[in-house]
């Protein structure tokens, strides 16, 4: 594993963008190398990100390359990790803290919501917070308790935060660069279940026509739109494959930015297909799917032939191994929801 990571890192060395196959975990690593190189104010820190290279090896080799001053371990305390990031930003740094797992972001919520997200506002712009909080997120890897949570609804609700979640290595690379270069705090949610997914990645330094807040249509279709982020994008693409076999053409939108949300992009797609299904891992109630549903309905009501469907985790604590596949949205559930939108008749 180490070997290939080094190779990926090597790829980032040259200035000209080039295409290389790498896993998402390697793509994030390459992006971290890029920003650590391009901006001496960037710092990477968190629990076990140094010598160990992080529990997912995402920070592998960074301490070696950039030294223990710019890439360092912290003691085990999430609130202080974010509090320290705030203080570092106040002193001109661009911190890239990692919280080890989604469920361990909760102890840091106070520092995230009450401090990080509003320091720029509180200081009327005198104290900006260019902080990128990396958070290995979501489920799908049969991990222990608190290692499969989806906190995007919480973060998206917080004024002053931006939130994104890539679904493939290319976007992981691009979104991380954008997040770190952004002068606002960004929560960057890495879908653990896709860490080992290998794809060709162009190590381009420029996000091109993908500004902050823009979604992507990953598959065109005309019968209904599927909206998802993180690992669920992949599942939606699979569902679209199945549906295509039955002649149902599904459009798949990768939301990417969970705040700001590309309301226009979503509405445009839903207006074209007249039907939408939003899919996420987090529990249904008060999940971000509700926001997507509301936004689409507000902006495309007249065009909709059926109410927006939500396929989400159930309103239960994220379960242990054998129950995980029954908790997460399945292809069947997605297709059933599509079916309902297609068969919907006004009473």
């Amino acid at each position: 594993m180490t070997g290939t990571i080094t190779e990926a890192a090597g790829a980032a060395d040259a200035s000209a963008p080039r295409v290389r196959e790498m896993s998402m975990q390697q793509a994030v690593n390459a992006a971290l190398r890029t920003v650590l190189r391009e901006d001496p104010r960037t710092l990477v820190f968190g629990e076990d990100v140094g010598a160990l290279g992080g529990v997912f090896r995402v920070t592998d080799g960074l301490q070696e390359e950039f030294g223990a001053e710019r890439v360092f371990d912290t003691p085990l305390a999430e609130s202080a990790i974010i509090g320290m990031a705030v203080g570092l930003a106040m002193n001109g740094w661009r911190p890239i803290p990692e919280l080890q797992f989604d469920g361990f972001a909760y102890p840091a919520v106070d520092q995230i919501v009450n401090q990080l997200a509003r320091m720029n506002y509180r200081s009327r712009g005198a104290v900006p917070m260019p902080v990128t909080l990396r958070l290995p997120s979501f489920g799908g890897i049969q991990a222990p308790e608190h290692h499969g949570e989806s906190l995007e609804a919480l973060f998206a609700h917080v004024p002053g935060l931006k939130v994104c979640a890539p679904c493939d290595p290319q976007d992981a690379y691009r979104l991380l660069l954008q997040s770190v270069r952004c002068d606002d705090p960004v929560v960057y949610m890495e879908p653990k279940a896709r860490y080992w997914d290998r794809r060709p990645v162009e190590l381009a330094h420029d996000p091109g026509d993908m500004p902050v807040g823009r979604s992507r249509v990953l598959r065109r279709g005309r019968h209904a739109t599927l909206v998802a982020w993180g690992a669920m994008v992949h599942r939606c693409l699979q569902a679209a494959e199945y549906a295509a076999e039955d002649g149902v053409e599904l459009e798949v939108v990768d939301l990417r930015w969970l705040k700001p949300i590309d309301a226009e992009g979503l509405a445009a797609s839903a207006a074209r297909t007249r039907r939408a299904v939003v899919v996420h891992e987090a529990p249904l109630t008060a999940g971000l799917g509700a926001e997507v549903s509301a936004l689409v309905t507000e902006r495309a009501f007249g065009a909709l032939a059926a109410p927006v469907e939500r396929v989400a985790g159930f309103d239960v604590p994220y379960p242990a191994g054998p129950l995980e596949p029954q908790y997460l949205p399945t292809i069947d559930r997605i297709l059933s929801a599509v079916q309902r939108t297609l068969e919907y008749k006004r009473p």
């Binding site: 003691p75 222990p144 239960v316 242990a320």
Partner: protein, 345 residues
């Protein structure tokens, strides 16, 4: 950065620590060791997705917990207290079920076992121990709460808040830190400012004692005294059992990235089982026959646990919904119907 290594107390054995007690401890420590080995094997065979070994911490866990009164005390574990569970008589198949990922909290009854559901939030259960203990005093009960946590956990705000609460309320709590020198890849030197968790006790006006965590008698002594103190209404204590995590953090970990194999080897040489055995051989509380019998019993027990957990049925999908609330909601019933119609395997 170097860390002043706290000098652990090496007290005389507590009066309770007689030959019978030593034998019981040894048998349980050995059983924990054998179950641990079976668990590592089960992980290698793919039966467990992952496992966190307690190897090297058997004295800290078993000999300490042996001082608890399971009729009235209550233990609040993290994810590594298998030896405590064993010493307290927790159903070990139910305990191990958590590592097979059958149910996060395990499949034993925490209320009946007086051993809380496994807790993966580092530091998280420590304030529960304080609440329980405050409640115990209010009830007029004489039980004590024991909060288990690691050296890494000592950095968490919750642990500080809990210690302060306990000392303010003079609650019957023992804060039991197993300082195994590593919190995943981070050593004490970069984790525990000042170098001693025990030294934190003084700041709260409570006794803080560092003991040799690989010395069963020393750990037992410290725990027994702390429980006596708590039961006498004198408030909480902090014990730091100095030990070592000889295995990787978990089966997914790779220690070669961050620590010297030499260090591990040195600590394997201070094996708590070997130390206890030597003491027992010296004072005559264990002879060859005893150690042979112990080995056999431990092995049989470990195999039974292994077989039990390997063949335990997977939870039914309906269990997703059953325990969310005591008083069910219509919405969750509706979601269960969705599960029933669209997911049920």
């Amino acid at each position: 950065m170097t860390m002043p290594s706290p000098t652990p107390a090496r007290p005389e054995p507590h009066p309770d620590f007689g030959p019978d007690f030593a034998r019981r401890c040894y048998l349980q420590m050995l059983t924990a060791r054998r179950i641990d080995e079976e668990a590592i094997a089960l992980q290698r065979q793919g039966v467990f997705p992952a496992y966190v070994s307690l190897r090297g911490q058997e004295a800290a866990q078993v000999a300490g917990a042996a001082a608890l009164d399971t009729e009235r005390d209550f233990a609040f574990p993290t994810y590594r207290e298998m030896g405590v569970a064993l010493a307290m008589g927790v159903d070990m198949v139910g305990y191990m079920a958590s590592h097979r990922a059958l149910w996060h909290g395990g499949l034993y009854d925490p209320a009946a076992s007086r051993f809380a559901a496994l807790n993966a939030v580092v530091g998280g259960p420590v304030p529960h121990a304080v609440g329980w203990a405050v409640g115990e005093r209010l009830r007029g009960g004489s039980g004590c709460a024991v909060a288990y946590f690691g050296d890494g956990a000592s950095s968490e705000g919750d642990v500080h808040e809990a210690m302060n609460f306990a000392a303010v309320y003079r609650a019957p709590v023992v804060f039991f830190c197993q300082n195994n020198r590593w919190a995943l890849s981070v050593p004490n030197e970069r984790q525990v400012a000042g170098g001693s968790v025990a030294a934190r006790g003084q700041g709260y006006g409570m006794p803080g004692t560092a003991v040799d965590g690989n010395d069963a008698a020393a750990v037992h002594h410290a725990m027994a005294r702390a429980l006596e103190r708590a039961r006498a209404g004198e408030g909480p204590s902090l014990i730091e059992a100095l030990t070592y995590r000889v295995e990787p953090h978990s089966t997914s970990d790779d220690t070669s990235r961050y620590r010297d194999a030499e260090e591990e080897r040195a600590w394997r040489g201070r094996d708590p089982l070997t130390l206890l055995r030597a003491r027992m051989e010296a004072d005559g509380s264990g002879d060859a026959a005893f150690f042979e019998r112990a080995e056999q019993e431990a092995r049989e027990r470990a195999e039974a646990v292994r077989d039990g957990v390997s063949t335990a049925p997977e939870p039914d999908g309906a269990d997703l919904f059953t325990h969310v609330f005591r008083e069910p909601t219509e919405e969750l019933a509706r979601q269960q119907r969705v599960w029933h119609e669209e997911v049920r395997p």
